[in-house]
Symmetry: C2
Subunit: 466 residues, 2 copies
Amino acid sequence: MLSYDLDSYDGPLYEKIYKSIKDDVYAGRIHPGEKLPSKRKLAATLGVSVITVENAYGQLQAEGYVHSYQKRGYFIAELPGIATGYRRIKSEATREEYNQKRATDKPVDLSNTQANPKLFPFALWARLMREVISEREDEIMDKSPCNGVYPLRNAITGLLATYRQMQVEPERIVVGSGSESIYGILVQLLGRDKVYGVENPGYRKLSEIYRFHGVATRFIGLDESGLSLSELMASNAQIAHISPTHHFPTGATTPIARRYELLGWSAARSDRHIIEDDYDSEFRFTGRPIPSMQSVDATGKVIYLNTFSQTISPTIRVGYVVLPSELHERYTRDLSFYSNPVSNFIQLTLAEFIARGHFDRLINRSRLYYERARRRALDAIQSSSLASRCEIFENDSGLHFLLRLKTRRSEESLAQRFEDSNVRLDSLSKYYHDDRSSNAKLYLFSYSNLEGVQLDRALETIAKTL
Amino acid sequence: MLSYDLDSYDGPLYEKIYKSIKDDVYAGRIHPGEKLPSKRKLAATLGVSVITVENAYGQLQAEGYVHSYQKRGYFIAELPGIATGYRRIKSEATREEYNQKRATDKPVDLSNTQANPKLFPFALWARLMREVISEREDEIMDKSPCNGVYPLRNAITGLLATYRQMQVEPERIVVGSGSESIYGILVQLLGRDKVYGVENPGYRKLSEIYRFHGVATRFIGLDESGLSLSELMASNAQIAHISPTHHFPTGATTPIARRYELLGWSAARSDRHIIEDDYDSEFRFTGRPIPSMQSVDATGKVIYLNTFSQTISPTIRVGYVVLPSELHERYTRDLSFYSNPVSNFIQLTLAEFIARGHFDRLINRSRLYYERARRRALDAIQSSSLASRCEIFENDSGLHFLLRLKTRRSEESLAQRFEDSNVRLDSLSKYYHDDRSSNAKLYLFSYSNLEGVQLDRALETIAKTL
């Protein structure tokens, strides 16, 4: 009879069961042709639901580890070439030893600039969602307007006023399922015949998405003030997609003078627009952020874009855009036949989350957490053997900084060495849309998801690699 | 002090308050310049939350009925040209009289082919969602694979086996937020350089979406067996987007012979594909549905598409597609950088809903409901004065049939008369993507959302109009 210590595994419950059984197969504890317990029986033994076991068996079946025969049950498949005993976890190892080993083995990913999922107030969100479900059936069953339900758009205007001093009417806001669905809407709104300029280096996924939407893109280089105006002028781009508050991944902030220059560029021709991607402006640690370009735009050329993936969690899948007047009219005329892609369950819960002040509290807590994590990382580097062999570029905000490694090795040789190590470090070169690589030996150092032991290990490894 | 009987109004709570106050403005019960009670005060009086009042005030403000002055509160705006007393509901009318009047005045929409929201088992869905939130935090916080979480894709394979005798591996399924987001993915997958053929008449939104995705479309006419093969051949379309099980809006089912002919068409050239839109195949009332084209496709040319909007509710916003092997590989290679647009909260709840058999029960209940509604509509027509002046086209499935009106009036003259009446009736002509209008005086007659009193009224009005 199968009986597992599911705590030894990561991931959702069904995956733990799936992994346990797979490990048993590899360890030779169960053999080809052997019958698995019925779903009901295993569920009872493990104290989980039948559907969880069903999902685990389904995954095993999908991957060919088991076969199912109607009315006879599930059987381990013949698996030629599998050496039993492989991947076996010694039974004499205590769970603690095992877990410690896992923590040490786990690769350290310094390129992960995602929000730390530990900060998401899951219990609170769950409570609000339960409340919304219980009390607002009518609103949930109502068809959402194409641009999102009013309470959410209204709550967002509150955030924009608080965090960005922006006065925005709720009808100008279009809610989408994460920024990706919004890029798609913007392409349809601005036109597929336009040429889109993106920052180089920048967010790689962005140019991928534009490419798959079949629009022409230009990669515009940066200078010390942000997007290079001369390169932008020289290109025939009509849309400039930029992140002036906190450029990804260099962290640079575009000063106000360049912002006005860019506004001037957009004002000069009627077909020009700026997409202001303000993705993590909330995480500025010192002082007030520079006003958004949208808030100083008198010509209706700036489209303001933001997402809750960095501030709340990517799991809720919500982003939004603020459209200038003329584009808002075009949107209403041409694109309002679309259904809003975000379920009302999520939209209304998020509206409550913001309206009751939980967003503000989360931002404050997150800022504190990331600021400490940044401090810890900077201190650790300072007091490590790496101190004299690197230089740090940062601007007091965001979830990462840049590390320049001082070494004679080429980026290629370093990449090779990192690949063999347990540390994932992405060179800035990876963020160029073209092959304008830098060999500047600048690396992203994200501290948002780093634990203490990982930090030390990462620094050690990097120092050795040089 | 404002004190309202909110039950007199439809819609979400904040909207009821918003409407109450607006009615007061029009009725002259509150005057320009008058101060509204504070949000907190009104919330207490009405026994609602402050945020609800905030949303109501926000909507009033957005529409210009009230102004807010910082720290002073909300004031009724000057509204030139408003005759007070207008729209006033007489206070002596009892609520019952009022509601009855509303039901009688409410326009009857015979073109609404949406699922009836009353059938959605809200309480059950709410319970499952609460359970998922409480018990599966890890899974919710895990990043969903680009094509959706495994338990949902696995549950969908079960549905496909049950309802469509399709044997599909979970990895071939891509979950999206309603069919609209899936059309977008398909354009990116099949290529923007392809020519897309859509049924004419057909689903108008579809050609709109293709148009806004910047792809060339061809409108392919129908004959008695479905999509006209000769028109398809004569066009240079490479992708045929069709609904062979139950064509929208004619209700026609494509017989097996034409299906093979279409498969033959697609097999003849490597760049051809068929998108099989199976949107309401579950609602067949008699006999088993004809096998899906996907299930008899040996050449990997058919993309199967379905949605839960018709079967469960559009509010959950989930659809999916089954990709043939080669396209699945292309999807994994090229498009798996996308995030899945559906929140894990929804994906996991839906997986449970299906896995525990609730989907099956809902379909059975819905079938029964729609079959009765159809029967009732057909009987009512038969025993009305309309009986001798119309003809009915239907094929025992779906949520509507077609009504041909026998009259000498032109469609234009009828349209004029319907516009002045309280019945919304859409001519089939409206479903042509081009101006190939028919003047066949064929009208959609949807019974999915019709109540008894509305049915009689609609038939009376139509008879009078002839």
